[in-house]
């Protein structure tokens, strides 16, 4: 199966349940979309992420009620440097959607979604630990994998694979 080129036009994708719901709620929150390899990514403006998650969780008839994952990709040295990536799943609609938030290098922070899904707790702590992204409103934002006195954030691209010696 040859690869199709990604679709980035909002007009072509607006029938998708997740995107339709977000556009109906607040089109200013949607910064862009990408449909590639049968997966939809929606770029969300940083200040709207928690509300966008809450809207998608309660959307009908296809509520994205399951929080699968949050992680981050470091695009160092390009700017904006970080992409925080959320994977949501709808059990009723058998759909997945990926939300992305772009963050700059200077003290990257965004709102925690733990108030929407308690499941995000450990995952956000892991992103904080390994990438140094702060989640405001997180109940217990401490390192989870690395020791508490560790310096640096290992999964950043400017952190050497062998570690500092």
């Amino acid at each position: 199966m040859p690869l199709a080129s990604p679709i980035t036009d909002i007009e072509q994708l607006k029938d998708n349940p997740a995107l339709a719901r977000l556009l109906a709620w607040n089109s200013a929150a949607v910064e862009g979309v990408k449909f590639d390899r049968e997966e939809l990514s929606i770029y969300i403006a940083r200040s709207y992420i928690r509300e966008a998650c809450a809207v998608l969780r309660d959307a009908s008839p296809c509520p994205f009620n399951v929080f699968c994952d949050v992680t981050c990709v470091d695009w160092y040295p390009s700017e904006p440097r970080f992409e925080v990536i959320y994977h949501l799943l709808s059990i009723a609609g058998k759909e997945r959607v990926r939300l992305k938030v772009r963050l700059g290098d200077d003290s990257p922070a965004l709102e925690s979604v733990t108030s929407v899904w308690p499941a995000a707790n450990f995952f956000e702590r892991e992103v904080f630990d390994l990438f140094g992204i702060r989640f405001t409103g997180h109940p217990y934002l401490r390192r989870i994998q690395m020791p508490d006195d560790w310096e640096g954030h290992p999964l950043r691209k400017d952190y050497p694979v062998e570690g500092y010696r």
């Binding site: 040859p2 390899r37 990709v73 994977h87 308690p118 499941a119 995000a120 995952f123 999964l155």
Partner: protein, 384 residues
């Protein structure tokens, strides 16, 4: 009083540390502390070629290496746009279900051992040994198999392999009856598990549970059936669900899954298609040894794949499979080079572990042990 449980406690299934705030024998608060097995596999992946990541995926979850192999291979194959031949897909399904049985047997044995039923452990490890021998026969390794590769599987199974699997699959349902005879209606077992560590469906979903932990709370969701991959849609199987949400419900779900899995193995054996086991993609899949001796191109491709890897078109994929513990997801980002830009493993256990405080608070310390066993965690996968 604060009680420290672990990280070297035998019932924590690895190196999990729990901080228990207790009032007499009653648990008031539970705080899991993880990270003791953190090996930085996600970071290491970024420094390897795509094909070199496969052995790392084995080591994330040492009880279901093939599930991790499969999930990673599927993710990279979707990035590449590769079509996998039916025989390879069916072999993958068959071995995946054997892996599920293997993992559930270790879970059942150790879980029963935690609660005090020692015989089950010996029975389970007897059958597990049979499965590990099958794995050794097919891949050369008992545990870290690395048998599924990007573009197919490593080798054609040896002569006599399918007969051995058939022999095992025919005997196994009677063995499940043996385990059930020992446990299901055993009054001590039911007293220790029924009504213990209950979790509702709403809580389970909100806390991110998946797999048998979620189905034990009455949510009918299985990725193999609901979002099929690797031709799981061609197999008939039931998804066991139990409503109670307690330790016993999760036990029943997993034991029923053993029966369903062996049914899938039988179907795979009966309908195994003939044909190639590797995709037709010479730039990605290593050529046959015979071809390398006779064809110049094959030798060149082999040299190039081994020395420079293969480039993967830029993009990103999130591939999830139903591992024995729940939704195992691989998020692979490619920047167009021969090394993955980012590999992230969505661990089912990490999410399932978040249920533990909810399950244990207000109950006795002894129930904590039963609850940990019932969510079936593997710390290697949690910490990665």
């Amino acid at each position: 009083m604060i009680l420290n449980m672990g990280p070297q406690h035998p019932s924590t299934h690895g190196v999990l540390r729990l901080l228990l705030e207790i009032d007499g024998e009653t648990v008031v608060r539970v705080m899991p502390d993880i990270g003791y097995l953190h090996t930085g596999i996600e970071k290491t992946c970024e420094a390897k070629f795509y094909q070199q990541v496969v052995p790392l995926t084995d080591r994330i979850d040492y009880l279901c290496p093939m599930t991790n192999n499969l999930c990673y291979a599927l993710a990279v194959e979707r990035l590449l746009g590769l079509e996998i031949p039916p025989r390879a897909q069916w072999l993958r399904v068959m071995l995946n279900e054997l892996t599920r049985i293997n993992s559930h047997l270790v879970w059942l044995g150790t879980h029963a051992l935690d609660i005090g039923a020692m015989t089950v452990f010996l029975y389970c490890f007897r059958e597990r040994e049979d499965i590990l021998r099958l794995f050794e026969m097919v891949s050369g390794q008992r545990m870290m198999t690395s048998y599924f590769r990007v573009g197919g599987i490593a080798l054609e199974p040896p002569l006599g392999f399918f007969e051995r699997v058939k022999h095992f699959a025919d005997r196994f349902p009677a063995r499940i009856d043996e385990y059930e005879n020992l446990l299901t209606s055993n009054p001590i077992w039911t007293m220790r598990t029924k009504g213990v560590a209950t979790i509702t469906a709403e809580d389970a979903i909100a806390l991110g549970a998946s797999g048998p932990t979620l189905r034990g709370s009455g949510v009918d969701w299985d990725l193999r059936r609901d979002m099929p991959y690797s031709s799981y849609d061609k197999f008939q199987f039931k998804v066991p669900v139990a409503k109670e949400g307690d330790v016993f419900a999760r036990y029943i779900c997993r034991v029923q899954e053993l029966r369903e899995s062996i049914g899938i193995v039988q179907q795979a054996l009966a309908g195994m298609p003939e044909g190639p086991i590797k995709a037709d993609a010479p730039k990605v899949v290593l050529p046959d040894r015979e071809k390398m001796k006779t064809q110049m191109e094959a030798l060149i491709y082999h040299f190039k794949i081994v020395t420079e890897g293969f480039a993967v078109p830029a993009g990103e994929v999130y591939q999830a499979v139903e591992s024995p513990r729940g939704e195992m997801g691989y998020y692979v980002v490619s920047d167009g080079t021969a090394k993955p830009y980012r590999v992230h493993m969505r661990s089912a256990c990490l999410a399932n572990l978040q249920l533990l405080p909810k399950m244990c608070e207000g109950r006795l310390i002894a129930d904590v042990v039963a609850a940990i066993g019932s969510i079936d965690i593997v710390l290697g996968e949690i910490d990665r």
